[in-house]
């Protein structure tokens, strides 16, 4: 396997872990937050370095040059590949901007130590191939939020119940799968257990209650950090996609789709901003799963693009809400707050991130959403329609929240409401990425398509997946279509006939 030029993976995992120990020994100090920001910034730089190095190598996967932990783990456990290369800097960025946008007054409530441990676990998870180590990391990453809930004296029953079930399903599924031939029908039941675990972690309805509960009872920062990297989608990608048959995946796609529409509708009836955000996040993350489970190259590419855009935009959306909450406490959506005059930057950023999350043109989410819908329509036209409806509901919710928070009669406050320097920097970084990714989407799309192709290739290696019709290099000979929603004519034509002429301008004068 090709090697990176530096042990980026292990160093980027160890830095936040050592940072957490450092902060633990520092105790309660004034400049604690600054230290945490520096640690997160170093981690982010390392993950970006890892990505650049990986791109320069040009391989599908690579591992570290020198290994510190080879006495502890198998050499090929921690690798960076096409699927995770972009997820790692995204995860590090989510932690960086979340900690950057934390007010110093909030550090007693929001545990920086646990946040850094979570970051370390998350980076290890995203660098980990399918193995017991991945299962252990996924299980371990559920502990920091639990500890925080305990520290805050909140009821942990809902969280514990769901996450306990998640861990139990995952461990039993993986243990079972390890004992059978993954390419035979014996893998169906452990596959189902792993799928259930991944869906539970993703918050697919009706197993979504824990997410809303975490947003209710945890700190907003922890809830954002635990949900926006879409670890559940990663679990689906690593544990489920390589072994699940197409019919099973498409059934799960329907479940995800129902969740997307349901959560989109639920976002509109919430009377508090955190809950509204939680449901928008659920809806969007479910759309990512829809794309993953369609397993067509276009749909997968759309899902992987949307994954990045959801991570970026909803983190931005979340930290904006959190910054407002830091100043005025929990935000009711039952009335108008009129904060525009005091928070012009936040209002613009709120709108930008909210619109990016729903795939507004010229933002990072647009192309991902287009590809996802295209991929969905190729398989089931009705699925594409439902994706569009979910996005429309989210769009209505975003502007509704914007109006409720930033418009209305202005109330003078004694608290300084303007964005601080670190918040401004966080906002600016995310804005540049959201707009840059929206205006120049091709590099990202090309890389994600590569990853989608590889994912499809992995599935084709398993006869259980029955995926020959979705070869990345070959158009499907025929796509089954539910004709109930369509006229009798064959709407879905073979992909091979598509768009041959669309890039060539016709010369109608001839």
């Amino acid at each position: 396997m090709p090697e990176l030029h530096f042990p980026w993976i292990e160093v980027s995992i160890l830095v936040p872990l050592l940072g957490a120990i450092w902060i633990h020994f520092m105790g309660q100090r004034e400049n604690l937050l600054r230290h945490a920001i520096v640690i997160c910034a170093i981690t982010f730089v390392l993950t970006v370095g890892e990505l650049i190095d990986f791109v320069i190598i040009g391989a599908f996967e690579a591992h570290d040059h020198w290994l510190f932990l080879d006495w502890l783990f198998d050499r090929d456990i921690f690798v960076v590949d096409e699927l995770s290369a972009f997820q790692l800097p995204l995860a590090a960025l989510i932690f960086l901007v979340t900690i950057m946008s934390t007010l110093r007054t909030k550090t007693p409530r929001f545990s920086l130590k646990l946040a850094l441990v979570s970051e370390s676990l998350l980076l290890a998870t995203f660098s980990c191939r399918t193995s017991w180590t991945l299962v252990a990391l996924l299980a371990a990453s559920t502990i920091p939020p639990y500890l925080e809930l305990r520290q805050r004296g909140r009821c942990t029953r809902i969280y514990t119940l769901h996450m306990g079930l998640f861990v139990a399903l995952m461990v039993s599924g993986w243990a079972w799968l390890s004992r059978v031939d993954a390419t035979s029908s014996a893998a169906l039941i452990p596959g189902a257990l792993l799928t259930a675990a991944a869906l539970l972690r993703s918050g697919i309805a009706p197993f979504h209650l824990w997410i809303a509960d975490l947003f209710e009872k945890g700190t907003f920062g922890t809830a954002i950090l635990f949900t926006t990297p879409l670890v559940g989608a990663y679990a689906v990608m690593r544990l489920v996609l390589p072994i699940a048959p197409s019919w099973a995946l498409q059934s799960i796609a329907i479940l995800s789709l129902v969740t997307a529409v349901y959560a989109g509708g639920m976002a509109l009836v919430q009377r508090e901003a955190r809950r509204m955000f939680c449901y928008i996040l659920l809806s969007q993350s479910s759309l990512v799963l829809v794309g993953l489970e369609l397993v067509t190259p276009i749909g997968l590419t759309g899902a992987l693009c949307l994954w990045l855009s959801v991570g970026l935009s909803l983190t931005g959306f979340g930290i904006t809400l959190r910054s407002i909450e830091s100043r005025i406490s929990r935000i009711s959506l039952a009335d108008y707050h009129g904060l525009y005059r005091q928070m012009p930057i936040f209002s613009g950023f709120f709108l930008l991130t909210g619109l990016a999350s729903i795939g507004f043109p010229a933002t990072v989410g647009f192309v991902g959403m287009e590809l996802l819908i295209e991929g969905a329509v190729d398989v089931y036209p009705l699925v594409g329609t439902m994706v569009v409806i979910a996005a429309a509901l989210n769009g209505i919710a975003v502007l509704w929240a914007y109006f409720r928070i930033f418009t209305g009669r202005h109330n003078p406050t004694l608290i300084p409401m303007h964005a601080r320097l670190s918040e401004n920097v966080a906002v600016l970084i995310l804005s540049l990425l959201i707009l840059g990714g929206g205006l120049v989407p091709q590099p990202g799309v090309a890389s994600r398509y590569h990853a989608a192709k590889e994912l499809t290739r992995q599935r084709q290696g398993n006869p259980m997946t029955e995926d020959a019709d979705h070869s990345p290099d070959h158009a499907p000979a025929h796509v089954e279509v539910s004709t109930s929603a369509l006229p009798a004519t064959n709407i879905v034509t073979p992909l091979a006939n598509k768009r041959l002429a669309s890039s060539k301008a016709k010369d109608p004068t001839q």
């Binding site: 909450e325 192709k453 006229p487 709407i491 669309s502």
Partner: protein, 464 residues
Amino acid sequence: MNLTDTAFQFFGTVVVASPAMLLAILGLSALLNRPLSEANISRLTQVAVLFTMVPGIIILALMLIVDTRYVPVELGDWVTIPEQEFHFNLKFVFDRLSIPFLLLSCVLCGVVGAFTRRYLHREEGYGRFFLYYAMFFCGMVTSSLAGTIETLFVGWEMVGLSSALLVAYFHERKNPVRNGQRVWSVYRLADAAFLIAAITMHSMTGEGDLGGLMSSGVWPEGVAAISSQQALLVGTLLLIAAAGKSALFPFSGWLPRAMEGPTPSSAIFYGALSVHLGAYLLLRVSPILEASLLLQMMVITLGLVSAGCGALMSRVQNDVKVSLAYASLTQVGIIVVEIGLGLRYLALIHIIGHACLRTMQLLRAPTLLRDYNELENAIGMRLPEGSSPWTRYLPVSLQGWFYRFGFERGFMDIALDQWVVRPFMSLFRWCDRMEHRTTDWLSRDQSRESDKIELHPESTGRAA
């Protein structure tokens, strides 16, 4: 590429890039919280409009000189996956439909921009208005010149967002904001229909290119490259999209609400450009409409119903802007009928004439009321009103019913609220209650801390 083609490419690129540059400058200054002065904003807007209009006129002149009716300007693939033959092609087209609409947009945006410079002088939201205005202008230019259905959708979305935000421009008051939300909600549903139509077209033909959807000739010639049944499906979706955007029946309820915005934006959006965008879309895809007789009948019926409702409603409003908005709807309805009948040039001329007239009427509306008051003060009584000839032929009971129908704005909002919004919200509120109960049961306690939050914590003056 010869000299003429190079000139077309250059000027075409300038036409498209100029509004985008304006939006980028105003957007970045807002995002970085570095507000520009009123004079600079206004100057930038005027320059951008000029740099869009003048190259547009040059292209028109060149087209007349070299005797061509179709100039494609390709900016390449924005996104492409060659192996899957997926292309998101940025293509703009100058033809006999797009050039008049582009020049109309430039003229009206320029006029209204100049008017607004005085109208909103020293308003707190001056910069915000022009930012949204730039987005609208960019969206209009993109929509007018779009050569592919996706590019048209990009412009369409930008117009929608800027419209909603400008309706809510006076955002210290609740009503404009509520109405802005209403406009946005209708637009989102219309956009959803549009997007589904676009993707369905892709699936049917493998084409996003609007030219490719018409198997031969350029606008207004051309025959749809899809079957009658396919045309019915796609055309119906596009008709829903157009109805939402142009406030046709049954979506007319948002039109009077949109008048809550400042007069210049009301004039440019709901008197002139935005309200005609749906009609423009139907004109652009008119070969598809003609591929299905049933679809044509639907278009004509929708236009007739909208025109009739608009005529009734405009006569009984007690607000001059709302009355003019419904008068606009009447004309748009007639334009849609013309499109349904295949009278494409007539519809285009009707759009241009009506847009110019209605813009002037709306800009004049605030001062007209003052003139009326002065006249009434001078003669010491109300101005005499002419009676309608209808009153002689219609029975009184029917007159009353028509009056009620018009005054209640066709009961459209009430119907939408009662039959769509309320059931939808009730269903999800019920789901929310069920979730609440479930989490309470699982927690064995009150699970929602958000139930106890203050309504206005920001007004207490204390830190969180």
